[in-house]
């Protein structure tokens, strides 16, 4: 087990959180959290309910601002920058609950994904349609009328449209049918293999650790464990707390 908080901050990682404190109003959520992701890495973020996983992603994106600490992307301090700027630096997210633009069509949703690049090139669409053939069939359907699983695909496709360097995913398989959960992990693996770094939040720790390179474990807003995925899977405490049975 690695010593918590001892992470070397090289200043060159793709993404770094350096001792951030995040609050909602007066409630202290993230407490001195430091994490780091290198280019091309697949990292998973684990933690019990309300341990601050979604908040971590929001902090990375700048949807909530930390009171203390620094967020760096490619070594650049972006703590004071708005979300849109960070997206421009190569971040993308598949948010909790998908957050599609319900009254827009699937195609328009995908276009929005590539907003900063002016709506997406042909090859972007082709790549997404290749991963999710169904989206091509449904391209002119309003996103809000899709079922949960289809919406999840749109959300993933939309995030990929921006050609991100780092993809953040918040519980991408929540509420999905088992068959889709399976497929989802396939796609994650595929995308990862194409060179995109990823930070995944998942309740299904078993599966996510099986495809991840490294993992972090949060509890009550603090880092309690971190290390290579294989090592975490063997950790007794974690098994007891999360993997159940």
């Amino acid at each position: 087990m690695t010593n918590v908080g001892s992470t070397e901050l090289s200043g060159k990682s793709l993404l770094e959180l350096d001792r951030v404190d995040t609050y909602y109003g007066q409630i202290h959520i993230l407490q001195g959290l430091s994490i780091r992701i290198e280019a091309g890495e697949l990292v998973c973020l684990l933690g019990g309910n309300a341990s601050g996983k979604s908040t971590t992603l929001k902090t990375i994106l700048g949807i909530v601002r930390p009171r203390n600490g620094v967020v760096r992307v490619d070594g650049e301090d972006v703590t004071k920058r708005p979300t849109s700027y960070r997206i421009g630096r190569g971040l993308a997210i598949v948010p909790e609950n998908r957050r599609l633009f319900a009254p827009m069509t699937v195609l328009e949703n995908l276009e929005m994904g590539a907003y900063l690049r002016g709506g997406g090139a042909k090859e972007d669409f082709e790549r997404v349609y290749e991963l999710f053939p169904l989206l091509y069939e449904r391209r002119s359907q309003l996103a809000g009328t899709l079922s949960g699983g289809e919406q999840q695909m749109v959300a993933m496709g939309r995030a990929l449209m921006s050609r991100p360097k780092l993809l953040l995913m918040d519980e991408p398989s929540m509420g999905l049918a088992p068959i889709l959960v399976e497929k989802n992990f396939e796609i994650i693996k595929q995308v990862h293999e194409s060179g995109v770094a990823m930070l995944i939040v998942e309740q299904n720790a078993n599966v996510s650790l099986s495809i991840a390179d490294r993992g972090y474990v949060l509890s009550t807003g603090r880092l309690v464990l971190e290390g290579p995925a294989a090592m975490l899977r063997e950790n007794e405490e974690l098994r007891k707390a999360y993997l159940g049975r």
């Binding site: 404190d21 109003g25 007066q26 202290h28 019990g48 609950n97 509890s219 009550t220 807003g221 603090r222």
Partner: protein, 490 residues
């Protein structure tokens, strides 16, 4: 003790453990609490039960006439109680029911008009008060119910527009009701005059002694307020109150949990309307007359201001809102008095804006010096620049401090006023030293504009002040003074 938790909290020393969610539930302890005796005091104040506050408040209020003999002040106190009642009623609809009702003051009007029709020479009816007032309250309740009927399907902004229409409807009908179907029903724009005071048997509760407000109405209003306050509080603490708040939070879930949402909305409309109508009878009886325009948009906004400012949903809050806003608006009418308030506010504002007291001291002293210097220099250049009319006061100190030109050239007012707005906005944008430096001319300019531009026209000035208060307060405390923090997590 872990250093990451703010002072004063009692989180157990043991570190966080995997899989624990205890900590979130104890979120109250995660807040910053002001430590020391101040924090303890705040804590103790929080623990005083509501009825103790009410009794204290009533006791304090009822001794007011003992200390204050001015009929005018007593009259203002009386109308403040009316505002308190109106705010309580609106709180039922907006704060508990969650319905954006922009027709509320129409029910105040309906109450006043109904009382005026039942107790005046208009139709020659003079019902005893114990009959007419309950009757009017019932009329108000039924009116609220009827307005609720078509509105029950509408939500949010659509409801707002329908209810606003209702207010318009009330206006149109009362204004044109002097020739409805050939009968003069409402007295039209002239309203109804010579409305009876409250009376029991042959005993009139006189309205005024030689033109001076009769304090008995203040006590009657206060008593009515106490009863309404307690009754509404009890309703809110019952299953009906819980259901009101549930449907405000999530109508669909409330419906699915067995609460008849439509009925509850109608009920809340009715309650608000009944309280407003009851207040209307007090108003009509005391002022002995009713006119359509009294019950219009500005009044609506004022009552809303009170409710929101105090904290919609909190009874104590909305009452506090009324107690602050009503006298404030009244005081601002009078240039002499508003001047005192202004300079007090200026000093208070300075205190708030800068927490570091040393810096504040410097700013205050520099500003003072700055003023005398400007005054002297301008005076030396041209006497007429400082020869203007002063409103006097503060032992004449301000006379030598604020510049007051004898003749305000036409460009001065707009330039200085717009300059002031720009300066204030700038001050909110910059930080640190620069802010302190900017503060000096800004404060001085504020005083200049107040003395020379605003005091000349108290009426717009007081609504400007009201507007600024509304904006500033919303930014500083979006939930109102005593409102509870609310969240909408998505």
């Amino acid at each position: 003790m872990s250093d990451s938790t703010p002072h004063g909290s009692h989180v157990p020393a043991e570190g966080p453990a995997v899989g624990q969610d205890e900590w979130v539930a104890r979120h109250a302890e995660q807040r910053f609490m002001p430590g020391g005796p101040l924090g303890a005091l705040e804590d103790r104040i929080r623990r005083v039960p509501w009825w103790a506050w009410l009794i204290l408040f009533l006791a304090a209020a009822s001794t007011l006439p003992v200390f204050e003999h001015s009929g005018y002040v007593r009259y203002v106190a009386f109308s403040t109680v009316l505002y308190m009642l109106l705010a309580l009623g609106l709180n039922v609809v907006v704060g508990w029911g969650g319905l954006l009702d922009l027709g509320y003051v129409a029910f105040y009007g309906i109450g006043a008009y109904a009382y005026a029709m039942l107790d005046s020479d208009k139709f020659g009816i003079h019902l005893p008060t114990i009959v007419s007032v309950p009757l009017v309250v019932a009329i108000g309740a039924i009116g609220g119910f009827l307005l609720g009927l078509p509105s029950r399907r509408l939500t949010g902004d659509y409801l707002a527009i329908v209810t606003l229409f209702f207010l318009q409807l009330f206006q149109t009908i009362t204004t044109n009701g002097d020739a409805a179907f050939g009968h003069n029903l409402t007295g039209g724009p002239n309203g109804i005059l010579n409305v009876d005071p409250f009376h029991l048997g042959k005993h009139d509760l006189v309205v005024q002694h030689e033109g001076i407000f009769a304090v008995s109405y203040f006590y009657v209003a206060l008593a009515v307020f106490a009863v309404v306050f307690v009754a509404l509080r009890f309703v809110n603490q019952s299953r009906t109150g819980r259901a009101w708040r549930s449907q405000r939070e999530d109508p669909l879930a409330a419906e699915a949990m067995g609460m008849p949402v439509n009925w509850l909305k109608l009920l809340s409309f009715s309650f608000g309307a009944a309280v407003a109508a009851l207040t209307g009878t007090l108003f009509a009886a005391q002022s002995a007359s009713v006119f359509p325009l009294t019950f219009y948009f500005v009044l609506l906004i004022i009552v809303y201001t009170m409710v929101i400012l105090g904290g919609s949903g909190s009874q104590a809050g909305v009452v506090a809102g009324a107690v602050i806003v009503s006298p404030l608006l009244e005081l601002l009418r009078d240039p002499g008095k508003s001047r005192v308030i202004f300079f007090l506010a200026l000093v208070g504002g300075l205190l708030l804006m800068s927490r570091r007291s040393r810096a504040l001291g410097i700013v205050a002293i520099v500003t003072l010096a700055f003023g005398f210097a400007v005054h002297e220099i301008l005076g030396a250049i041209d006497k007429s620049w400082i020869a203007g009319e002063h409103q006097g006061g503060f032992a004449g100190v301000t006379d030598h401090w604020v510049v007051a030109p004898a003749h305000m050239a036409r460009w001065i007012a707009p330039t200085s006023y717009i300059g002031l707005i720009a300066a204030v906005l700038l001050v909110t944008m910059v930080r640190g030293r620069l802010r302190l430096a900017l503060l000096v001319p800004t404060v001085y300019l504020t005083a200049f504009v107040w003395e020379n531009v605003m005091l000349a026209k108290p009426e717009p000035a007081r609504y400007i002040v009201l507007g600024v208060i509304l904006i500033a307060l919303m930014i500083l405390r979006p939930n109102g003074l005593l409102g509870e923090r609310r969240v909408e997590i998505v």
